[in-house]
Symmetry: C2
Subunit: 305 residues, 2 copies
């Protein structure tokens, strides 16, 4: 339930890393794309097939090392229906490999619509007399702008099906300051107000000490990260922004509780595209480069705790 399975994977592998899966065309190794191009030409079908092969290869390369993967829905949606089919296959493969799957979709709407998004991502859809699993991720990211009734359907689905969600609190991008850092009624920034709500949305923490509602807080804002750890003692953190976006191990250390738990750190490009940094331009050995990058990230973060 909630984040217990994620916490177990972290402990078992002694690795607080989430491998982000962002199969944008420009990140896919040419050696993979060329095969699909020969079959399908320059089409969405070729893009989706290459995205799938790449993600399956990354899972194969790192499943024994990382705790979780985070497929980013946008990079699959951009290949249309073929991409959504690839996304479903990636989630299935990751679960079969024992990985915890965080679907990064940043969904959120009015209550009835959020319920449908929650069904799609982590729950089940009612059709006739049946209740059917859909994409079947363990966890999904959600946007809090609509308030409680936009988020609670995700919490309800999480509780009903043993999943979880991460709500955006302080995002890693540069302009997150524009709204998230505005001082609200009591003088505190909006992200703190959102954080206080997130801390309550999940209700009573389970045996792990955390509720089923986590928070997304960017590694690019280490001061806010440390502050929010204090504001949200029962909230599991997903920390993006390590690596290509500029966050380092010292920046993310404050995300963890005193036992080194309660958080995972995501890197996408720096792991997926390790073959590029290594000068392997066609990506013939992308798996070994990603393995090396995952190992280095694990050790980097563990050494900062």
């Amino acid at each position: 339930m909630s984040f217990q399975r994620l916490a177990e994977e972290i402990k078992r592998k002694n690795n607080r890393t989430v491998m982000g899966l962002d199969p944008d065309f420009k990140f896919i190794p040419p050696c993979i794309y060329d095969k699909q191009h020969a079959l399908y030409g320059d089409t969405l079908e070729a893009g989706a097939a290459a995205a799938l092969e790449f993600c399956l290869g990354l899972i194969d390369a790192a499943a024994d090392l990382v705790a979780a993967v985070k497929p980013q829905s946008a990079y699959f949606e951009q290949y249309g229906v073929y991409g959504m089919s690839a996304l479903a296959a990636v989630i299935d493969a990751a679960k079969k490999a024992g990985l915890y799957v965080i679907l990064d979709a940043k969904r959120g709407d009015i209550g009835t619509t959020s319920a449908a998004y929650a069904s799609a991502a982590i729950g089940r859809t009612a059709v006739g007399g049946a209740s059917l699993p859909v994409f079947g991720a363990d966890c999904v990211t959600v946007n809090p702008y609509l308030g409680s009734d936009g988020v609670m359907p995700f919490v309800d689905a999480a509780k009903k099906y043993g999943g979880a969600c991460f709500a955006l609190v302080k995002t890693s991008n540069k302009s997150s300051d524009e709204f998230q850092n505005l001082r609200v009624d009591g003088g505190e920034p909006l992200y703190i107000r959102v954080a206080r709500m997130v801390e309550t949305w999940g209700g009573v923490p389970d045996g792990s000490g955390y509720t089923c509602v986590g928070a997304v807080i960017g590694a690019t804002y280490p001061r806010e990260l440390a502050q929010l750890r204090g504001v949200m003692p029962h909230t599991f953190f997903l920390v993006p922004g390590y690596g290509a976006q500029g966050g380092g191990a010292a920046d993310v250390a404050a995300a963890f509780d005193k036992n080194g738990g309660g958080a995972v750190v995501n890197a996408s490009r720096s792991l997926m595209c390790a073959y590029k940094s290594a000068g392997d331009e066609r990506g013939d050995n992308y798996k070994s480069h990603t393995r090396a990058a995952v190992t280095a990230m694990r050790d980097d973060i563990n050494s900062a705790l």
Copy 2:
């Protein structure tokens, strides 16, 4: 460009109504589902096939009357890959019927990821040497919580491909007050601050007087709607919440400019499920009931201007 085509459709049909397409299972007429159930049993495939047949029927029923349709992505995603395939077919059919298509997806992420969402919804995806259309809507709804760099990729795609987007400002749900109405730095509510940014994001208005960045403002908050019309003189409004959510014609009147332009009003359940209100429980005549409801809504809104 931007909202000109939408404005033209409104004028041509003298109708400020958007028909929302939310094909949740509980809204689908039994007469439609029974056929699909006979073919596929209680499966996601049956749900998606029934959703598609229902939406195509609604488009056929109302295409000569309404200005636009608004398929809600969540209600397609909940049927998995089959649902996304249905969504693509619904968008195609609506465009062929001459309707303006607003994909209600409320996407938003850091810049690079928002760019992929924008490609999927209203733009094109780069694969190899090609630039390929994907879902091909005219317009998409976006969530502003991440700030400018999360929204600008949608604006860029809108400008490049002649589309548009609507950013959430003041949403129609009950708990939209929780964050959106908090007083920020200067003493004004957050939704006003967001509105001021939305007014600038689209740049210079085109010949219609509006930019390519619109705003979503719920009919359930008529006071805010009137206030925001003043704050955002160059911003086209999408006003959900009419009908089943409780908004009436008097509530939405303030959304329009002095010429009765600059806004569209969405209703979903009250149009799609008109067969239920009419006592046609199996929905055998759902098309004629929807036609009647669309006509009544058109006249109701026009009479309040």
